[in-house]
Symmetry: C2
Subunit: 319 residues, 2 copies
């Protein structure tokens, strides 16, 4: 089916069209261009929430509970679980785990996991596109889950209106470092598993760090939750909505959209180049350069330069 | 000082030249090209070992002990700690922690942490270049530490002869998923903190997974360590050396070098493009496109296409 037809179906709320379009934008940046050319003008209505935190912090359960709470408040919800483990395994652990829940029978909820497909993948690019598809699809709230703090994850989190960093009491030293590292992106901190020992301490530490950081404007709240018991979830949704309102009231949505566009342009450009290079792989010139690198006759930088020149020459041929 | 002079000093074992060259390749992919053009032909002697694992698995301590063990065996060691937390904070937690150890007074050891500097960073590209600088510098063994399994980390780990995945007993569900996700890259598994309860179980689980995976050729061993106590470190170094010997004995070094070159070419190309786009930012055409994206008159993909065309037109101007 052509992209235009799928988009028309998407806008009418066809779930299969949504799923198919996301698969399309995942598999090929060039097809993604066709899809997004149709879809983009229908975006801009959804409230986008990014959730990140170390493995074991209970993000999946938290997202499950947040989804239920938003549903209670009459909102439809899209969930995108970004699966960093998949470059290797092709699996989709986070998505699968979420899918097991009852939510999947609710037509007001659409759940999707994203996974990189090797280095041509462009996970951040694909996830930003998927967010827009769910936005055009009509979901009121889109929750995006990532693990860790690699560049892809940072870009993904920056594509959300509101970024939530989840932590749990009693994690080790390196976790502390990562927590410190995420200070600048968090609009809201969540201390999950708040029934564990050390929860109050974790909250105080975070608040102390926030005082030191002395952020102007929005001051990130620290929210305690126990996602498994469902404690603190309603309060967290209140904070999320407050932050969104703050952006709107202070004319910050347009600057946010601009920052997102800048990040997307770079990622799309990288994706195009990665694909261009991949398409060169069968050429004799490419194979010869590889041999020369192995034999130390040329360095990878100079080889990449030559390949880029070949790509640029061939640029006229492609859509 | 010119790159050629710095390289000459590097080859004579000048530490400051090494540090300065790494800073250069970190800050600018175009300067990196100049440096690597000089440095690359002097590489190929070092044994490169990549170490990854979730936060809290004790990688830093493990690397500290591995360094001591290699030193005992008469090898000089370079350590590169790749700090994923830094896109936000600019800090260098892992590196700092390592630096605190006594190793830093040993002239046979060179320690460096790498950090992304925003989305232009190209962490994988920079780390691959830094590995080569330490190789040309004359370090016998280069240990590269990363956290997590984002695409940058995968690329970095694939730039090593031997990839070690570290885990610890008793971590949560998501860790299991990540562990499963790293099956395909691990040449050696380490169960660290082996004095903890559940260590034997973790080892059996890993061995069962490995049996299912049915890898041909090299069968990844599972090694127990207690890095803080120093237990199991000598055995681990033996396994690392066995794997390196396996690559050499089976003529696998050349295919490895080719795979690395292919990955590097893509990352260098992406880096060049990211920088090209960044250089467009002040142009009126770029600013106009951003406005149009915000107003939904054009989608980010079509805008990126236009910017790429502008970049390609201007391609003749630059080195």
């Amino acid at each position: 089916m052509r992209e235009e037809d799928l988009t028309a179906k998407l806008l009418k709320g066809d779930r299969r069209a949504a799923a198919k379009l996301i698969t399309t934008i995942e598999n090929n940046p060039r097809d993604a261009k066709k899809v997004m050319r149709e879809v983009y003008r229908h975006t801009g209505r959804a409230q986008i929430v990014g959730i990140t935190g170390p493995p074991g912090s209970g993000k999946s359960t938290l997202i499950d509970r947040l989804t239920s709470e938003f549903r209670k408040r009459g909102k439809t919800v899209g969930v995108i679980a970004v699966d960093v483990s998949s470059p290797f395994s092709g699996g989709a652990f986070l998505g699968d785990r979420i899918r097991m829940k009852n939510l999947s029978t609710d037509s007001g909820v659409f759940i999707r996991s994203m996974a990189t497909r090797g280095c041509m993948g462009g996970l951040a690019r694909a996830t930003c596109d998927a967010i827009k598809i769910l936005d055009a699809f009509g979901k009121d709230v889109i929750l995006v889950e990532t693990v860790g703090t690699g560049q892809d994850e940072v870009d993904i989190i920056n594509a959300a209106h509101t970024s939530i960093v989840v932590t749990v009491p009693g994690l080790g030293d390196e976790i502390q470092a990562i927590k410190a590292g995420t200070m600048e992106i968090a609009d809201i901190f969540v201390v999950n598993k708040a029934d564990r020992e050390g929860a109050d301490m974790a909250v105080s530490e975070l608040r102390a760090m926030l005082d030191l950081a002395d952020k102007r404007g929005w001051k990130p709240p620290v929210v305690m939750t126990a996602a498994i018991e469902g404690t603190g979830i309603a309060g967290l949704v209140d904070r999320i909505n407050e932050h969104y309102k703050y952006l709107k009231d202070n004319d910050l949505l347009k600057p946010w959209l601009k920052r997102r566009a800048e990040m997307e342009i770079v990622n799309i450009a990288k994706d195009i180049v990665a694909r261009d290079v991949a398409e060169m792989k069968k050429s004799d010139a490419y194979k010869k350069l590889l041999e020369e690198i192995v034999e130390k006759k040329i360095d990878p930088h100079s080889a990449a330069d030559k390949i880029m020149k070949m790509v640029k020459k061939g640029a006229g041929r492609k859509g």
